[in-house]
């Protein structure tokens, strides 16, 4: 496995697994150049392929933690942060 392939995979798995401490605020910590390069490339491709900025969040029916239906249309009146988490 090449170093880049390993780094690419590690981004994927580490982004999902455990804490996100590697990404947390610590201005003194070293920049992970290799992984940063991949992350930025993924982001650029994502923005090109799915330009969602300044568009309305689509109305999708999801569920709260108790299983009650929630419409994403109700996520208004304040800033809302949505992060896709992974169990794994």
């Amino acid at each position: 496995m090449t170093a880049k392939a390993l780094a690419s995979w590690m981004i994927a798995i580490f982004a999902c697994v455990g804490s996100a401490r590697a990404q947390e605020d610590n201005p003194k910590q070293e920049t992970p150049e290799l992984t940063k390069e991949f992350a930025e490339r993924y982001n650029e491709n994502f923005l090109e392929r799915h330009p969602l900025m300044n568009t309305q969040l689509k109305d999708v029916s999801v569920f709260d933690e108790s299983g009650q239906p929630v419409s994403t249309h109700t996520l208004r009146d304040s800033y809302t942060v949505l992060v896709f988490g992974c169990l794994t």
Binding site: M10, A20, F46, L52, L57, V60, V62, E65, G67, C86
Partner: protein, 341 residues
Amino acid sequence: METVYLDYAGQGVKFYYIYKSVQHPEVNGFVHAFTLDERLRHIAELKRRSGSSIPWLCDNMENGLQQALGGPPNGEFIVDPQGKIIRQRFWSDPHKLRQDLSELVGPVDKPTQVADIDVRFRVETRAIASGIVPRLELPGKFQPILALPGDAESQPYFAKLRAEISQGALAKRGGKLYLGLFLDPLYQVHWNNQAGRVRIQLESEGAVLSQETLESPLVGEPADIDPREFLIDFELKSRPAHLQARVSYVACDDANTFCIPIEQTYTIRFQRDAEGGSRPNAFLNEMFADVESLDRNGDGTITADEIPVGQRTLFLGQLDKDDNGLIDSTEILEFRQMFGP
């Protein structure tokens, strides 16, 4: 993410983790949820074991929200009070998120530090034997195909079937078919080896199989939780080809309150499962071989200067759980345990 949440939830910003299908089955032993109830149980389990207080929304079984947002596995978005998406990232980045919220809502006087909180996924081990049934080493790369459960609502699928085919097999109209049965840790059940083998009976339509009856090897331990894996050859004769799989085994719960024979069905379609994710096993050996080889002076710990530039933050951030700047063998072992025995 938790520190950003703690600093900004009190300022009126709503935070939600979005649950969608499992991206890396087998990590921490978890496998794909077949029902909404199982997804909700995954969320509860994650909160219990991590100590995170960030609320979750559970995507629907079609992963409709993930698709509406472009399908990023770890994406991050900020929606303004009018419902407009004003930030979009493929990979969540708490540092950038904090900067965004500082601009949008205002800076925080004294930001919460990671050291101030204790949020991390805690690996739990079970008393039942594991690591005793050798894992299959697949010849080359494989990709998941659809394995659709028959009726997951009426009786839980304690063991869940995963189907994969060798890369390029669809184009070549034949190749290797991998079938793996993984016990779902949500149910805390184990194989009862004294009651016989795990069995998969296959019926094919449009495909020829090298074997139609698959039986797991006999296991000396009376009980275990290891996956049961099979590898056979297939050849496609017509399309769309599919298999009917009838899985039978005896499952007992770890608390010894029940032992029941299970017979459940799947339809296996020779069609790529876009939500199937990837199992990490193929990469782990190489990855951890690298980790352990970093210990150049052989003292059993890995220090920052032994890690290649560019990977220090990643390695230390994920493996150095006590934040002492070293990765010791216990921390490597704990990380390994997330991926099974």
